[in-house]
């Protein structure tokens, strides 16, 4: 039974993505029976290439896809190098999970309000410092180079990469490496960079690739923070799919395939970059420099992460203020009055979206958990190396959502699968499974096999050993992985909307629909609600193991 697990897992993910992509290829070449188009033609591609600003759009997607992950990775690496075991280190660790829990759209709204010329920062320092009675006419949000968009992405990617790094770090025993290097006279930061980083990078490579794919194809953040003249490619593609002029559908399909190409290009360029850095890196590793730039490393590491954390928190504070605000005149640092009206209005229509969000999130997470654990248990029991085919797991993360979800809808309809909650759960699995796997795999594999051997030698069956030894020992990582899965499910917008035909409202679909009305007070309410649920998930993931451990005292779990 367990042997089938990896194949089942891959089928669950690959078949829909493949079917979705296949459904796009035909329209991209002019064949769309629904529109009465039946002849093969290159016209959609010609229309695409003739579209004003198409090259700029594609280039923007490509550059965003490379720059945001590069900055996020640098911040994470410098922080880890500079702050091993300091108090700041521990404090920021505790903040990582909540930051990861805030959905992308919520961060984007918060950031937009924070940095806009009429935003929270400007209000705090005006008119005192600046003398502004009216906001200055500066283009900050939606800037043409995508700086605001990149900043928003970095805010979300830093916690993700940090969590992924922290999950795999212990197996590298960084303390031993650093001790050794320090005994050779290296400063701590340089010791970390030269002995731990080269071993760490291969282990977080897949999460980095997922981040690159995401950044190059993101829709929700790009709509809020991204450039507009022209927009990023993913935003343009989405607008063509929704264009009242149906002939744009064909161009949209071609555009979705172009988006896939752009994402693949970003991944290939990054890979080329890796190859390029390797020889230089090697020389730097061996150059014998032991104390070079010691203060700079430490300072950069602290500043980078502190800045991202504080910005994200301030963004949330801004949303919170607005969710309670009465009229809020520009240079005032606080609203003139506060009201609970916006929250009350949200509560009156909250029951159905909340139930759906929870049912879908819990169901998708549990199914994903069973699949992933079965797959890992198979691997561990049979002492297999991770299958190469498993990279297929990441297909839904690497292929842009706009590129295959529209196709999945047509494919599902063709099979007679009507929009319903179970279909939405299946669609969420596409994204929950890879993230859950990413979060759990390393912890699962590194659990000392002797624990299980001892259990077997005491006469426990495979199952008994699994339930009585492995699960309790891995409780913390299992719960964290579930919290990640839950937060991924909660933040899904397009899969929920498209596979549910809007009939399965969740907190996120409600939030996006209301966001189109531009009422920042309501956006604040719904964005906070959207962030609250995954936050509860992460809090439980931290609390449950502690409670259980306290109960079982003095026996302590393995960490």
């Amino acid at each position: 039974m367990l042997r089938l697990a990896p194949w089942l897992l891959i089928a669950v993910l690959v078949v829909p993505v493949g079917a979705g992509l296949a459904t796009l290829v035909m329209p991209a070449f002019g064949v769309h029976p629904g529109l009465g188009a039946t002849t093969f033609t290159l016209a959609p591609w010609q229309a695409l290439l003739a579209w004003p600003g198409i090259a700029q759009s594609a280039l923007l997607s490509l550059s965003t896809g490379l720059i945001a992950p590069l900055i996020a990775l640098t911040v994470v690496i410098l922080f880890l190098a500079a702050n091993q075991g300091t108090r700041l280190d521990r404090a920021l660790h505790r903040l990582v999970s909540p930051l990861l829990a805030i959905p992308h759209a919520a961060v984007a709204f918060g950031l937009a309000f924070l940095i806009a010329p009429s935003g929270l920062l400007a209000r705090i320092i005006s008119p005192g410092v600046t003398g502004w009675e009216r906001p200055p006419d500066w283009l900050i949000v939606n800037d043409p180079w995508g700086v605001a968009l990149i900043a928003g992405l970095v805010l979300k990617e830093v916690p993700f990469l940090l969590l992924m790094s922290l999950a795999v770090l212990p197996q590298l025993s960084p303390e031993r490496r650093i001790e050794l290097a320090r005994s050779l006279g290296y400063t701590p930061s340089l010791a970390w960079l030269k002995t731990v980083l080269p071993a760490l990078y291969p282990l977080i490579r897949l999460p980095i690739y997922a981040v690159i794919a995401y950044s190059s194809s993101v829709v929700d953040m790009a709509l809020i923070l991204g450039p507009t003249r022209p927009p990023t490619l993913s935003v343009a593609v989405l607008s063509w799919f929704n264009d009242p002029d149906f002939s744009r559908r064909l161009m949209a399909s071609a555009g979705a395939l172009l988006q896939l190409g752009v994402t693949l290009s970003a991944l290939i360029l990054w890979w080329l970059g890796e190859q390029l850095v390797k020889p230089f890196g090697k020389r730097w590793l061996l150059n014998g420099q032991r104390t070079q730039g010691r203060r700079v490393w430490a300072a950069a590491g602290r500043v980078g992460l502190t800045l991202t954390t504080v910005t994200a928190l301030l963004a949330m504070v801004g949303l919170g203020l607005f969710s309670l605000a009465g009229y809020w005149h520009f240079p005032d640092a606080l609203p003139a009055s506060f009201t609970l009206e916006h929250w009350q209005r949200a509560f009156s229509s909250l029951t159905l979206p909340l139930t759906n969000t929870l049912v879908i999130g819990v169901a998708a997470t549990l199914i994903a958990l069973v699949l992933v654990v079965a797959c890992l248990e198979n691997e561990v029991q049979r002492q297999l190396h991770p299958k190469h085919a498993l990279w297929l797991l990441y297909l839904p993360l690497l292929v842009p959502q706009v590129a295959f979800l529209f196709g999945v809808v047509v494919a599902a309809e063709s099979l007679g699968l009507r929009p319903q909650r179970s279909l939405v759960i299946a669609a969420h699995l596409l994204f929950v499974v890879p993230y859950l796997y990413l979060s759990l795999a390393e912890a699962y594999r590194r659990l000392d096999p002797h624990w299980m051997q001892v259990a077997h030698s005491l006469g426990a069956s495979k199952w008994r050993a699994f339930w009585r030894v492995r699960v309790p020992l891995l409780l913390a990582p299992l719960l964290t992985a579930c919290a990640v899965g839950l937060s991924v499910s909660i933040s899904q917008y397009l899969p929920t909307l498209l596979l549910g035909a809007g009939r399965v409202p969740t907190v996120t679909t409600e939030a996006v629909a209301l966001a189109s009305g531009g009422n920042r007070r309501l956006i604040g309410v719904w964005a906070l609600l959207q962030a609250l649920l995954p936050f509860i998930g992460f809090a439980l993931a931290l609390l449950i193991p502690r409670l259980l451990r306290a109960k079982r005292n003095p026996r302590r779990g393995v960490s």
């Binding site: 004003p52 022209p230 005149h329 229509s349 309809e413 063709s414 409202p505 629909a513 009305g517």
Partner: protein
């Protein structure tokens, strides 16, 4: 448009429906039969969900429908009507002709034209709704005309919109009352006015408003664009925009993404002048703490563009009877009066109120007016919408000129 194709499609749909009782198409003219069939159905109504007031009104409608006719109404909140249109098209592409997921859709203009052209709508049904007569279509042709296209009973009128400007009297005292005055005003108040980025609906409407005022050839706008010299007709518009853009918000380097975004910018003090498709928007926004008390509304001197918005039933809806019962209730004096009330939504009625009986007429009398509201007679001059092909052509031309930096 090829009428015989439409007819054939309608007949095919009807035949199919007869063969499959689950998706029976009711005969709209037998109203009692429609109501009988509607009872117990669940109608999925796809409507833009960006405004809590609209959402609240739809929730009220849902309660009433359940109570009066036993129809359950579910509001599918959209961020873009195009996504529901896309959905119906995808279902057609996949061969799902009787079990569609959209039962009623809030629609007008280009989306209606596109769905009609692809035979994605059920009908004609509107003229069979008992309450439709209260709109007196013979005297109010706008309720059966959507962007110059005859609705032919494929959509039922629901409400009325008209471009209305509003300004913050704390920052500007003499707002411009024509397009030419707007240019002068923008030069004197740089960075304090803008319009939503094309192809946004409100932004596109601004282009049409400007074109009607600036062009000498208004007649051409009410024919398909292919029948006139687009470049010649629109030349004054581009000259105007070229002159206007440097004085707009962010010097015209960026445009807000939607009509509601204009309101947010007004709220932040970034703009002093804005416009909306909903005459009551400013008054409502003041009530909801989004705009300052100093905001006032007005319309341009030559009148402003107005249109009617409708509800339509997709061809593959499995709950057509329920959808018709809903469309009929939406036209009832009670539902229309509730909708027009500022306390509920503030969207204007499509009924001919003066010809209602006294009891129903009284429902439309409003209480106190709000200082941010338009005076009652301000909307007497309504300019009709040009042919929908103009909207598409203007959007493409705008994108060609201003879509990239």
């Amino acid at each position: 448009m090829k009428p015989y194709l439409t007819l054939a499609a309608t007949m095919a749909t009807t035949l199919l429906a007869l063969a499959l009782p689950a998706a029976a198409s009711p005969e709209p003219s037998d109203w009692q039969a429609v109501l009988d069939e509607a009872e117990g159905q669940t109608v999925y109504w796809n409507a833009w969900g960006g405004d809590t007031r609209t959402n609240r009104y739809i929730a009220w409608v849902a309660d009433e429908m359940q109570r009066r006719v036993g129809v359950e109404v579910r509001h599918v909140k959209l961020d873009d009507t195009g996504s529901a249109v896309s959905r119906v098209l995808a279902e057609k592409q996949a061969g799902n002709d009787n079990e569609g997921s959209v039962d009623l859709i809030w629609i007008n203009g280009e989306n209606f034209a596109a769905m009609r052209e692809r035979d994605l709508l059920f009908g004609p049904f509107a003229e069979s709704l008992p309450n439709f007569a209260l709109t007196y279509p013979d005297d109010n042709p706008e309720v059966v005309t959507d962007f110059t296209l005859p609705t032919d009973g494929y959509e039922s009128p629901w409400g009325k919109a008209q471009i209305t400007f509003y300004y913050d009297s704390a920052y500007t005292q003499n707002p411009p009352r024509s397009m030419d005055a707007l240019l002068d005003w923008a030069e004197e108040n740089p960075g304090e006015f803008t319009y939503p980025r094309i192809p946004d609906f409100t932004g596109s409407t601004f282009l049409k408003q400007a074109l009607i005022e600036l062009s000498e050839e208004d007649d051409a706008l009410y024919q398909p664009v292919s029948e006139s010299d687009f470049d010649a007709v629109t030349k004054p518009l581009w000259t105007y925009l070229d002159a206007l853009h440097p004085h707009l918000w962010r010097s015209g380097r960026s445009f807000p993404d939607s009509g509601p975004a204009l309101r947010t910018l007004m709220s932040d003090g970034e703009l002093s002048l804005a416009f909306s498709f909903y005459p009551s928007e400013a008054a409502v926004a003041v009530r909801e703490y989004q705009l300052p008390e100093s905001v006032r509304s007005y319309v341009l001197e030559g009148g402003t563009l107005g249109n009617v918005h409708f509800v339509a039933i997709p061809y593959n809806s499995p709950h057509k009877a329920g959808a018709m019962a809903l469309a009929n209730f939406l036209l009832s004096p009670e539902a229309q009066a509730q909708k027009q009330s500022l306390d509920m939504w503030g969207d204007r009625t499509v009924l001919d109120v003066n010809r209602l009986d006294e009891e129903d007429k009284a429902r439309f009398e409003q209480g106190d007016t709000h200082p941010a509201e338009l005076p009652a007679d301000a909307l007497s001059q309504t300019l009709p919408e040009p042919h929908p092909s103009w909207m598409t052509a203007l959007q493409d031309a705008w994108r060609e000129r201003y879509g990239t930096r």
